[in-house]
Structure formats: structure tokens, C-alpha cells
Symmetry: C2
Subunit: 704 residues, 2 copies
């Protein structure tokens, strides 16, 4: 059952309910009903109004109320992050995190480690950013980790080819909309009047935009030429698209002859250490490795703030599992979790996401296997825990044409923001692709060895060298010929197809055939030198390259989307106030400590509070600047600080302080140790502000 | 008062005490004294024996008992760290951290954040590794961050020049020692017999080795030629030394025209963000920024494992302070801390370090100022807290010739290991060097503005343009001339020397002089166009570039030294066991959970324990492999796991489990919830194992 509901639809529903409830209240009041009877209905109305306000702030559809510019100015002003090297003019796609951004990221990562590594006994690794070329050749990155770029033939400005096509066609469709509705702007001097597009042209453009990923190589070049795609600001022609590798290249060591790259993902480091990790885990499978670190992509045109950058923090998990049994021992814990799944089939049918339990999804084959399902669920739980709005989170399956060739299933956690639905976590079944590639390249077996419950008996083609005749026949060249024979092995086992071919060649040549030794010379091999035959082989060990399930988190992207979800504006007495409603677990500062004025009498109390908070490892900040108490609260609402403890003149009398909560702006007043205990429980999520409000009387601040 | 005591002296003292105590016990036993009277003396003897054993393991002087090879093999086997890209042959100077190394590093960093950032409200930043060339030109790294290298003229092998000189002269001295003592080995075929060195030659070599840092440029070239320094393994001549820049270079963006480097330190990122940080801190000074991240140095010859690598984690603090008042508000908290200080004077006098209170050191001017002293103390406290042996930790002042030209004082925290005394933390007063350089380069004022208690009145040279005549005189060239005038400003204030020079030139030319405009053309300036005179200026704001005190931590170095300090061997029943005695706060795994056998009856208890530990965020590991319980304990001693909870058949009967401590190998036995509480208190350092042993009866394990 699909329950796709857009923000706009939700907003509409709440608005209708609000109007209806307003009528109820009006009617009661008109009938002069007793106040106690009217009040509950008034409360309902207020709740609906609040809900409406929140939804309108969140709404990001047409006529959006979400004001990105105002959030961005807040983020810059409070130094969540800022362009790197700003005083040197900045560099696109590089950002520095200031104190609140840093703390927010640290808190997200610390919860990530708790939620994944500690909870599942994952093996954390930290591998280097510098990576030699050979490794990234094997992984396919040297050849394939590239985007197409084109240049303005006159100015030399560079564009990512697909972005350019998207921009130009998008503009043409926009223009057409205006022309069709009679709102076309007057053409600038010297420019032609905008003409409407033919209906078939417009649908072709729309189709191309949907399937743009399919255009590569010469197809892309033809597309650019056929549609006459030009540089937008100059209208100059562009060059043919060429591949640009997205890895940063450097030289390792002083010789200048050892090429390396900055890693484009942390995954390869895990794979190269597979053997050590497997041993560390005393040979038990399944197990997972995990890593938090930087990755680098030399984007052609960085854009969208933190969403497409050149250097970013990733958190990656590689879970190694028997390809023949992708069950998960803790699957029961997530079986009943209902999540919004957007399957490939639903996308094909142009339907929306469906809310479904993970158990059902795996049972129906929508999610390929239990382990993948388990991680999809764990990712969902993590994201909602740190404050991502579940209403703007979905799990989208890759379409078969966008899936990497080695993957058998892939789900992205997509989060909606003012930039649309953005992939923030990928969860792919990478199968045995990487471990196989590195095994083949290095000869180092990245395998699991398992004692078989009973021996396996198989008939296999084998080759045996006749030691008596082989050495004397080739003398000092024996090694080169032996090398040729060894080349017919895969992972130390004979390649049976090649053995049979060789046997056939020998038969065809009446017991003789030419082969090329590893020294490049040609030798004659005769059938008295080797015996090729089918033998019955008994194995006691099963050896296999494990499959890898990879949940991969883009931390910067998650952080930005969280900022959008956390942001709202509150109308204040004088001006609109900006608030970030982080859950306490990720809030950069958990508690603000404010003396109401500059009196020295407050110092001992401030010290007592700060020491108490530090003892509980609660990040806090004293704001004893000269600003008004209201300004100081507002400043910390902007940082998303959930709680504030205020020391005032009453404190000096009776050792009580007030505790204010960010979103309700309500306060209570108690003795310092009681307040410290409450804050600790709130931060550790052992109680909620609602519970606190129920337990303690509200305090109406004098706000000096 | 110097209390320098070498490890060897300490060992000797303990040995003597041990022999003496042995005699006491022997005498008592010979006299058939009652057992209760002998026992305390026996205990004393055992304690001395243990102390002796520990000291001999630690001893790293001549005839060292510390076995580095065996520690290294343990670190590799248990995957603390391993060479990166090992299956591709590895790359010198790059290491990956495995699970225990990673956890150890995470714990060190988490304590670092607690000890510095949280405790002092520092502003954490995270800046990018990629850095554009312009920034590193200003900081001086493009020009000066380099080492001299030479090449073997035949093989092309590359050496760091100073390392090569050190190695060759060291070898000559070693050889001479052997010759002098008559132990010279017979010369290999075709090689000349080793000849003794002249006494003056040997002392010259020794002097050069001590002052090697002083040889740069042509001096270094002359030294290599004069002493005929050759490549050791080939005996070939080497090329003249050339400077090799140690930064990794790359291209940012697709144009191939934007040069960047991987940062060699995190400090520059702090400085570039100074203005935002200063604003974030609402203009209050002093304050500090802090950062944890990677830095990169393309070492010519990486060596000594983690001590000299190409990619490493740094934790850096930049503390901004008024150059005229380097007091510290929390100095009192460290004033009485006694630390081993090795001042420049003591080094000059070839004396040893002196134990002295921080207060005394600052008062006597040994440490330049309170802020520097405060951080030196905090660094000492941090290092000892994470488990660095205070007996092998000293604070060494830079000699005036090794100090950077901008620094007015610098202290290194040096830790002793089998590699000698190694700088692990630097604590420098960088003065205003970097902020001044970036201000000059970018025109962005990285300054503090302070309201003066009363206005400052000063006489200053100023220049004023005569607006009536200036414009008409130069017309469209006015801008170029104005540019020339502006070039006589520093930070928007007139350069008084230059103004006076210009005034003199005008006077010398009878009111006329030629100047060069910013367009490169020559113009005539006359004294009716500008007025240069001394004026009385009243300022209400003091503007200054703050001084920077920089504690800078090499995390990999600290981690390795900690591993050496934590390592010891315990003689077991069968074979020597390796132990890492980490304090619980840094131990990778805090608690091992072991079922005594594979019985399914144990599962609910294992689950209860693990869930309880997780709830308290205590990193734990279940080892239910088939190995004997002794083997499993041993395996976790190697990981430095301080506690082990064992579930056995008695658990099924009475819900009790045993708790074992790593170093004493003693156990107690209690109900599960009691044990969980004890473990929590131990890990959080709220109790000690000694206290636990005193409170609960010892349990003698059956070790099935």
C-alpha cells in the first residue's frame, strides 16, 4: 500500500483541520460555553496552528517557505562552516568547519561509532589517504573514476558535460513554459525572440534529462552536437567531451617516479587489509570492518555547498559474508521496522515509495537478502536518531541501469532538502568484486577458509610434470616453461578449460605443441613431459572469497541535510529568531550558562555549574558578554543549544537557578544540584523536557 | 637541584635493595622465625623482585633488555598497525591502523579533546588537507619546508644528506672503536684493512655529529666533499646536496593550472580563520583554536616505524594572547606541579634535566611566560594520564640555534624509548609571525581590537592629498599615483619612515620628485599636491596582532612511545607472555567476555553482560573461540585489555561470574550486576583494582 504524501498535501490537510477547529472554537465561544469546556478545544486549535507553522517552514515545493539564503547566512555567521582560504579568495568545493560545525560532526561520528562499530563489534581501521597507482588500477578507479568535461572553445571555461546539457535543456524548457503562458521576457538587444518548442522536441528534452546517465562517449558527443549545446553565458561552442579523472594525483617519495593518488573512497584500504582483519577476528565470518576518514574527488564543477565538494569525510562499513548464506543473526531485531521503500519497480511504474516492514521487503524479494535488509534498517534508525525528519527520508533502490556492474542490489538513503532528494548513504551488495580483483592482481588470497562438515569429492582436470624428463629436456630454461604452466592456474587451482585445450593441442600435434615461456621464447612441449588427466580430488576445506555488503555514509551531506531539517524561524517580540532544533545528542553545545549581569557575586555559582557539567562530560559554554539575556538566548538558539542555565540575583539568595529549553522557551527553577541532574538526564536522553515540565513548576523569567 | 637518574642507576639501586632484602629473609628463615613474621619480609622481597623485573624490561641502555623486535612482532600480529598496501609490496612511511591501534588512537584523541578542548572551551576547527600554493608561500613552506638530498652518482639511490653524513661518520667512529680495542673484523676480499683514526679526526667527527643541523647549503656540500662521504652500500660518490621540498604537490580543479599541496601542518587553517574565530568568541582574547587532522610530509627516507612517516595525525592548539600580557588565568592550578625541565642553559652546560615546579620555572625566567608554562604543564599532565612513564618523559627547551626565527621560546615534550629521546609534542611561542604574514599578503586584518581604558594620544607623520589640485594634475592617471601613495601604508597606517623620506626627496628637489605609479609609469609629484606633516592623533581603540602559543602533538609518535612504555613480558607456566599495560582510559578494549566452553547454557549470561557493558559504553569483546581459557586471556593481555569477565558452569548455578585483572592476573567472583558495576567504576577510574581486591575475596580459578 503506497502512502506517498507530499509536503504540500500534508500542509493542505492540516490547514483544513485548522479551519474546521477554528469554527468549533468560534461556535463554542458564541454559545458562551464555560471556559473550562472551551479550553481543550482552544488547545487543539493551538496545536494545529503550531503544526501548520512547522510544516509551512519545512515546505520546499513551489512557493517554498523555506528560506535557504537565511539559513546559509546563519551558518556562515555562527561559523558552522565557511569556504576554505576565504581571505585568499577561496577555492570552489573546499570548506572549513568552525566550532559548532566541528562539534556537530564529532557528535554525529561518535553516535555513528556507537550505533554501528560498538553495537556490532565491527573492526575499525584507519588507512592512508595517499594511495599508490597500482591499487587504484586494480579497483578500476584509474580507468573509470572520471566525468566528461567540455571547454568553451573561446574562453576555455570548463563544464561538466552532463551538468551543461542539463542546464541548457532545463533552460530551454523553462523558456518554453514562459512563452507558452505568454510570460516570455522581452529579448535583450541583439538577441532573437524566444520561440515556442515543438511538442515532440519538448518531450524529447524531458526524456533526455531523465536518462542523461545513459549518454557516454560518442553518444554524449553526438547529443551535444545534435542539440547544439553551447556555453550558457557566452553562447560559444564547446569542445568534444573528454574524460577527466576525478582523482588528485601526486608523487610519493623523492624520485618523482612513483605515482600516487588521494583515495576517492576509504573502501580499498579495508579490502587490502582483509587477511589481517580476518585473522584478527580469529577466522570467524561474517564480520565487518569500518572506517571514518577523508576522501577526495577533484570535481569539475563543485556546487550545492557541502553536497558536492572536493574533500569530504566518509564513514564506510564493509561487511564480509558467505555469498551462499546472507542471513543475519540480528535480523529479528529489525524485522518489524516499517520504512519508506522506493523500489526499482515502483520507480519504473512511476509510483511513489511504499511504507513496508523490512521483514516483508526481504520476504517478497524487494530487498535482496537479510544482511542488506538489516543494514538498510540500521541506517534508517541511525539517521532518524540524529534528527533527520523521517517524513523527508526514503530508501531508494538503484535501477538496474544505474547499478555498478558488480552489485547485485543497492539501496540509497535519500534525504529531502531544498536541493531535492539527495543520496546521503549508499548500501550496496558489492559481491566479491574487489577482493577477487586484488587477489588476482597480487596473488595474495583474500579468502575465507572453512572446515567442511564432510569432505567434498570432485573430479577435476589436473596437470603433473614428469620430473624425470622435464628438467633434462629444458635445462636452464625449465623455469620459463614452468612459468608458462603456472600461468594456467587461478588461485593455485588449475584452470580446467586451459588444461583441456592444452591436451587437445598436444593430441592435434601428435603429442607435440609450441608454447611461449615466461622469457618470451618459444619451446616445444611434448606429452612425455606432462600428464594431463581427470582425477578425483577430496577437499576438507571450503575456500571462498566473501561477498561484501557496503553501507557508505557521506557525513558532510548528512550534516547539511540535518541543518536544513533542524532549521526554523520563530517570530519574536521584535524580530524573527533563527533556531536549530538539534536533538541533544548531536547539539554542538548542550548547555549554555549565563549570568544575568556582570556581578562578581555570580562567579562561584557559574564555576559550580561549569565544573558539574564538565564532570558529566557535557559540552557547555558560558556567555558572560554584555548583551541582554534575550540576545544571548537567541544567539544560542542559533547554535541549536538545547538548554540554558541562568544565574541571577535570586541565585545569590537561595542557590536556585533557572533552566530554559530551546524550543518551548519555557523555564523551571530549582537548586543547582537538582538542575545539574536534570540536564544530565536530558542530555543522556533518560528523560524528556515534557517530563521535566510535568515534574517541576514553570518559572516565568523576569528577563532583566 | 638536579635529580637526573639514569635507568641503569635505578636498576642498580633496586638490585642492591633486593639482595639486601634477600639476606633479611634468609636470616629470618634460618632463625626459624614464625611464618607470620617472615611473610611481610617475603612480600617486600617479592615487590622488589617485580620492580627489578619491570625495570630491566624497560632498560634501554647498553645491554638493553627491551626487545623491540618482539614488541613489533606482537604489534603486527595483533594488527595494531601494519605497512599500508602490504600485498602490493608496501610503501615506506605509510601505515594502516588495525582495530586495536585505531581504538587506542581514538581513545587518546578523545581524552585529548576532554583534557584540552572541553576543559578550556577551545574552538575546534576542521580545515582541508588540500591547500593552495599562495597560502604556503606566505607561511614560508614553499621556500623553506625542505630537506637536502643527495644521489648515488651511479645507482641513483637517494639519501637525505644529513642522515647520510650521520650514518657514515657514525660507522667510522664505530669502526675506530673496534680497531682501537683490537676487535676489528678481518677486511673483506679486496677491501683495505681498517685503520685507526687520528685522535683529532675522531673528535672532529664527534663535533660535526653534534652540530650537524648547522651545515646547510654550500657548507653541507663542502663537508660532504672534504670528508669524502659516499653511498654506504656501493661506495660510489654522491651528487651535491639539493633542496627537496617535503610537501606533496597536486593540481586542484580540471584546468591543470592551479597548484596545491597537502598541508604539512594543520596550523595555517587556524590562522586563515582567525577573524571568524575571534568573532565567534565575541571578541574576547585570550582564546584558543584546536584541530585534529592529518598532515603530510614527503620524507626522503622514512624510518623508525611510526616515528617518521609520510602521513600522520596531528592535534594542534593555537592559543591567541596579548603579546604585552602573557599571564594565564588558570596558572594557579599548575603552579606547584613539579616536572623534569631540561633548559637550554642546562644543555649548554652538559647538565641533566632538573625537577622544578612550573611556578618556579616561570618566576626564574626559565620558561618565558605564564601561558607557555601553563601549557607545558598541561601537556605533561596529559601524557602521564594516558600512560606515558613519567620517568621517561622530559620537557626540553630549544637551544637558541634550533629555534625558529619567529619563536621567542619553545619547549618539546620528549619521550624516551628504544629509539632514544623523541620529540612528541612541541610547545612554541610563535609570536605574531603567521598572522602578520597573512595580514600583509591578503590585506585582511587578522587583529584584535580593544577599547582603550583611556584614549591614546600620539604624534604621527601623516600624508594628505590636496583634492583640489591632485585630480586635475593627473586626470586619468590619478589612480596610478594614488596607488603609489597607498603603497606607503602598513595595515592602513602610514609608514612613517617612508613618509619622511618622501618629504626629504620633495625638499631636495625644490618641491618636486619623480615617483613610479602602479601602472609602472613615472610621474612628477610636487609639494602642492600632498601635505606631509606630523599630527597629534587620538585613538580610542588599541589594535594588535596577537601572539600565538602553539602546543602541537604528533599523535602517531605518542602512540608508539606509549606502546613501548606499556609493553612487558611475563614468564608464564609454559612460555613468556606479552602484555600491554594500558591504563583503562586508553585500552582499546576495556573488557573481555569469555564463556569457559562452548555450552549453549552460557549464552543468556554472555548476552546479559554484553548488553550491560554496552549500556555503559564500555568497549568489550566476546571471545568464544575454541582456544583454552589461558590462551584467550593471553591473547587479550597482548591487546592490553585490562579486565576479563568469565562465565563458567558455576554461573549457571548461582549467576556469579569471575572478574580478572590483567597485570595482577588475580580474580574475584560476584553476581553479574555487581561485577558490571565494578567494571564501570574501574573503567571510569572511580576505583582501582587494589581497592576492589581489598573489598572482595580473591577467587582462585579452576582454569578449565
Amino acid at each position: 500500500m503506497a502512502t506517498q504524501e507530499t509536503s504540500a498535501q500534508k500542509l493542505e490537510a492540516v490547514k483544513n483541520a485548522m479551519i474546521k477547529q477554528g469554527d468549533v472554537v468560534k461556535a463554542l465561544k458564541a454559545a458562551k460555553t464555560a471556559k473550562e469546556q472551551v479550553q481543550p478545544e482552544v488547545d487543539k486549535l493551538l496545536a494545529l496552528k503550531e503544526q501548520f507553522k512547522q510544516l509551512s517552514l519545512l515546505d520546499d515545493g513551489a512557493g517554498s517557505k523555506f528560506d535557504r539564503a537565511s539559513l546559509e547566512s546563519l551558518l556562515l555567521k555562527r561559523f558552522f562552516y565557511a569556504p576554505s582560504f576565504e581571505i585568499y579568495g577561496g577555492i570552489a568545493g573546499l570548506y572549513d568547519y568552525g566550532p559548532p560545525g566541528c562539534a556537530l560532526q564529532n557528535n554525529i561520528l561518535s553516535l555513528w561509532r556507537q550505533h554501528f562499530i560498538l553495537e556490532e563489534d565491527m573492526l575499525e581501521v584507519e588507512c592512508t589517504n595517499l594511495t599508490p597507482e597500482a591499487v587504484l588500477k586494480t579497483s578500476g578507479h584509474v580507468e573509470r573514476f572520471a566525468d566528461y568535461m567540455v571547454k568553451d572553445t573561446v574562453t576555455g571555461d570548463i563544464f561538466r558535460a552532463d551538468h551543461l546539457v542539463k542546464q541548457v535543456l532545463g533552460q530551454r524548457i523553462e523558456d518554453d513554459k514562459k512563452v507558452q503562458s505568454g510570460n516570455a521576457p522581452k529579448p535583450a538587444k541583439g538577441q532573437a525572440k524566444l520561440e515556442p518548442l515543438a511538442a515532440e522536441t519538448r518531450s524529447e528534452y524531458e526524456l533526455i534529462l531523465e536518462t542523461l546517465d545513459n549518454y557516454v562517449g560518442d553518444e554524449l558527443r553526438k547529443l551535444i552536437r545534435r542539440l547544439d549545446i553551447r556555453a550558457p553565458s557566452t553562447n560559444n561552442e564547446v569542445t568534444d567531451p573528454v574524460l577527466f579523472n576525478l582523482m588528485f594525483e601526486t608523487q610519493i617519495g623523492p624520485t618523482g617516479q612513483f605515482k600516487g593518488y588521494l583515495r576517492p573512497e576509504t573502501a580499498q584500504g579495508h579490502f587490502l587489509n582483509f587477511k589481517r582483519l580476518y585473522d584478527y577476528n580469529t577466522g570467524q565470518v561474517p564480520f565487518a570492518s569500518a572506517s571514518v576518514g577523508k576522501s577526495f574527488r577533484n570535481e569539475i564543477s563543485p556546487r550545492q555547498g557541502l553536497l558536492r565538494v572536493r574533500e569530504f569525510t566518509m564513514a564506510e562499513i564493509e561487511h564480509y559474508v558467505d555469498p551462499n548464506g546472507k542471513k543475519h543473526s540480528r535480523f529479528n531485531e529489525v524485522r518489524d521496522l516499517v520504512v519508506p521503500l522506493y523500489s526499482a519497480d515502483a520507480q519504473q511504474a512511476a509510483a511513489g515509495p511504499t511504507r513496508m516492514s523490512i521483514g516483508d521487503a526481504v520476504e517478497k524479494g524487494i530487498i535482496n537478502n537479510e544482511t542488506l535488509g538489516y543494514f538498510v534498517a540500521r541506517i534508517y534508525l541511525f539517521l532518524t536518531r540524529i534528527g533527520i525528519d523521517p517524513a523527508r527520508l526514503r530508501l531508494r533502490q538503484h535501477m538496474s541501469n544505474e547499478m555498478a556492474h558488480y552489485a547485485c542490489d543497492c539501496w540509497d538513503a535519500e534525504i529531502e532538502s531544498s536541493y531535492g532528494w539527495i543520496e546521503c548513504v549508499g548500501c550496496a551488495d558489492r559481491s566479491a568484486f574487489d577482493l577477487t580483483a586484488h587477489t588476482k592482481k597480487t596473488g595474495e588470497k583474500l579468502v575465507v577458509r572453512e572446515a567442511l562438515p564432510e569432505p567434498l569429492i570432485e573430479d577435476k582436470w589436473t596437470l603433473e610434470v614428469n620430473k624425470k624428463t622435464f628438467g633434462p629436456a629444458f635445462k636452464k630454461d625449465a623455469k620459463a616453461v614452468q612459468g608458462f604452466l603456472d600461468s594456467m592456474k587461478i588461485d593455485e587451482a588449475w584452470d580446467e578449460v586451459k588444461l583441456q585445450e592444452l591436451k587437445e593441442q598436444l593430441a592435434a600435434g601428435s603429442g607435440k605443441t609450441s608454447i611461449t615461456g615466461t622469457d618470451g621464447k618459444t619451446y616445444e612441449l611434448t606429452d612425455n613431459l606432462v600428464t594431463i588427466e581427470k582425477k578425483t580430488i577430496k577437499s576438507f576445506i571450503r575456500e571462498y572469497i566473501p561477498s561484501v555488503i557496503e553501507p557508505s555514509f557521506g557525513i558532510g551531506r548528512i550534516l547539511y541535510q540535518l541543518l536544513e531539517h533542524a532549521y526554523y524561524r520563530r517570530e519574536g517580540d521584535d524580530e524573527a529568531r533563527h533556531v536549530l532544533r538539534f536533538p541533544a545528542c548531536v547539539a554542538p553545545i548542550k548547555t549554555l550558562v549565563v549570568p544575568i549581569s556582570h556581578s562578581g557575586d555570580f562567579n562561584p555559582f557559574i564555576k559550580q555549574i561549569v565544573t558539574g557539567l564538565r564532570r558529566s562530560n557535557i559540552a557547555n559554554k558560558v556567555d558572560d558578554s554584555g548583551s541582554s539575556i534575550g540576545k544571548r538566548y537567541a544567539r544560542n538558539d542559533e547554535l541549536g543549544t538545547p538548554f540554558a542555565v541562568t544565574v541571577d540575583f535570586q541565585t545569590v539568595q537561595d542557590r536556585t537557578v533557572t533552566l530554559r529549553e530551546r524550543d518551548s522557551t519555557k523555564q523551571i527553577r530549582e537548586k543547582i544540584p537538582v538542575i545539574l541532574d536534570i540536564v544530565k538526564d536530558l542530555v543522556e536522553e533518560k528523560t524528556t523536557w515534557k517530563e521535566v515540565e510535568a515534574r517541576f513548576p514553570a518559572f516565568v523569567s523576569q528577563e532583566v
